[in-house]
């Protein structure tokens, strides 16, 4: 039991740290993409390509560069999480009603004031939606971490496979599913709250 709690905690910690990094980088790149159309296409294309690399292959590649351990897993999670966050940020910012941007400009807001006072607040629900998708994905991808010497619930599942112990596999797998479902539900609720005052 203690082992399970420890593994769950470790799993969540790896995912949480990766998500924080992915959010900062993803929103930043998303804003950049909304400002510079061309660059935006390049950024999103790269993020899409990364997304299509099978996780096993990506992990192997990263392992060659960063070695074994939690850091490598974290980097892989960040890379996978980027696409939904960048894309949602970019779309949310470019699809704001032109009248609102016109009003903001006409009233004398500088570009950064527009971004922080109007554009980001209005884009938040959609950005949050991107983070939600990324997070729920990350929770299950993190299981692969066991293959490159990272901890988390993957370790318990892997041990179960080696011992051909179905119960053990389930003890590792079920928390992953439950946690993912919980975050999906909770974050959908928060998303709805956030979008109350955006139209």
């Amino acid at each position: 039991m203690r082992e399970l709690l420890f593994a769950t905690g470790e799993h969540l910690l790896i995912v949480a740290l990766s998500m924080i990094v992915a959010t900062l980088v993803g929103v930043g790149l998303g804003i950049l993409s909304s400002w510079k159309k061309r660059l935006g296409t390049v950024i999103i294309t790269i993020a899409e390509i990364v997304q299509t690399i099978p996780s096993l292959a990506l992990l192997a590649l990263l392992m060659i560069i960063f070695g074994l351990g939690n850091l490598t897993m974290g980097i892989a999670l960040v890379l996978y999480a980027l696409l939904p966050i960048i894309r949602n940020t970019q779309v949310a910012l470019t699809e704001l009603p032109p009248a609102i941007i016109d009003a903001a400009r006409g009233m004398g807001m500088s570009r950064s004031q527009r971004l922080t006072q109007v554009e980001i607040p209005l884009a938040i629900p959609m950005i949050f939606g991107g983070i939600k998708v990324a997070l729920v994905n990350s929770l299950s991808i993190a299981v692969m971490g066991v293959l490159i010497g990272s901890g988390g619930l993957g370790y318990i599942i892997y041990r179960g496979i080696q011992q051909r112990n179905m119960a053990r596999i389930l003890i590792g797998a079920i928390p992953v599913v439950v946690i993912a479902l919980f975050f999906d539900w909770a974050m959908t609720k928060i998303e709805q709250r956030l979008s109350t005052h955006t139209t």
């Binding site: 009248a99 009003a103 903001a104 009233m107 004398g108 500088s110 004031q113 607040p121 209005l122 005052h197």
Partner: protein, 375 residues
Amino acid sequence: MIEFRNVTKRYGRTTILDDVSFTIERGQFVVLIGPSGCGKTTTLRTINRLIEPKAGTLFIDGEDVTHQNPVELRRKIGYVIQQIGLFPNMTVEQNISVVPKLLKHSRAECEAITRELLALVDMPYEENASKYPSELSGGQQQRIGVLRALAASPPIVLMDEPFGALDPVTRESLQEEVKRIQRKLKKTIVFVTHDMDEALRLADTIIFMDKGRILQMATPEEMLQNPADPLIKSFLGRHTDDEAIAAPKKAEAFMKRRVYTVHENAKTLESIERMRKREVNSLVVIDDDERFLGTVSIEAIKERGKAGHPIREYINGETLTVHRSDDAKEAFDKLLSSSENYVIVLNDDRTVAGIITRTSTAKAMGEALWGEMDA
């Protein structure tokens, strides 16, 4: 004071503004009008430099603003747009406080400004300040849009078809409010519209534009009297139409042709029945040749009438009449100087041509002044 000096704007090969020069005096309500694509909105947006001219200079209070920092410039110029553009993530108070905050006013000052401005449009602070735009009606939203533009007391306010999307009743009340506020706060307002009624109602000066040029810049009166171009005349439409302004002179122009008549030999009960069916209080009594004899009212029959008697016995011979070619004024005078509700209009042979009632008089006057009316 706003001065355009030889301002030209092109998009590719299309010329939007063609060497435009004009001066707007301080405290004036100036309306820019013209067909779509005439350059009126471009002119407006050049003032707060949302659009940069290709050539020419713009002076505000004698200063060349084409080289000023546009962001700072815009904070000194109010801006209202048709789509309102309130920030949905901010409350009414936050929306109104946007520019004061940009200008680093304190929180207390922002609240004071909000209170004062909301009072100006009869929207109590306590009820409205913490509402979000989505909780307001369209008219209220645009009121806040106007207040937001006034918040930092800019001497100049630009309005780009601000009431175009509102229903006519709301539009009219907002027009009045804006005019009132402008007079009270002595703002210079530059207002874009394509609605001549609105222009005539609001403007001290109208600038009529077409194809990037100014066709005429004049007071509403002047423009009505001497439209400088056939296009302006067509925009003014019924406002300059001579026939519409010169009211029709003859009584027949004001009469309703549908008159409910009854023959002098008709019986009392039959007449009452007919009045009830037509929902009228009296009938015009005629003889065999359809000549006018007088009128008979429901009161007269009720008071003195006996069942089965012909109504000729109850005729009111005092009924007001005019001839159809008489001056309409005569009919109006008769109506106004008596307690009667109608005047009967007669043909040469004393048959009934029509009836002029108090309602039809009012309606006819309205039409003469403001054009065709409903109902």
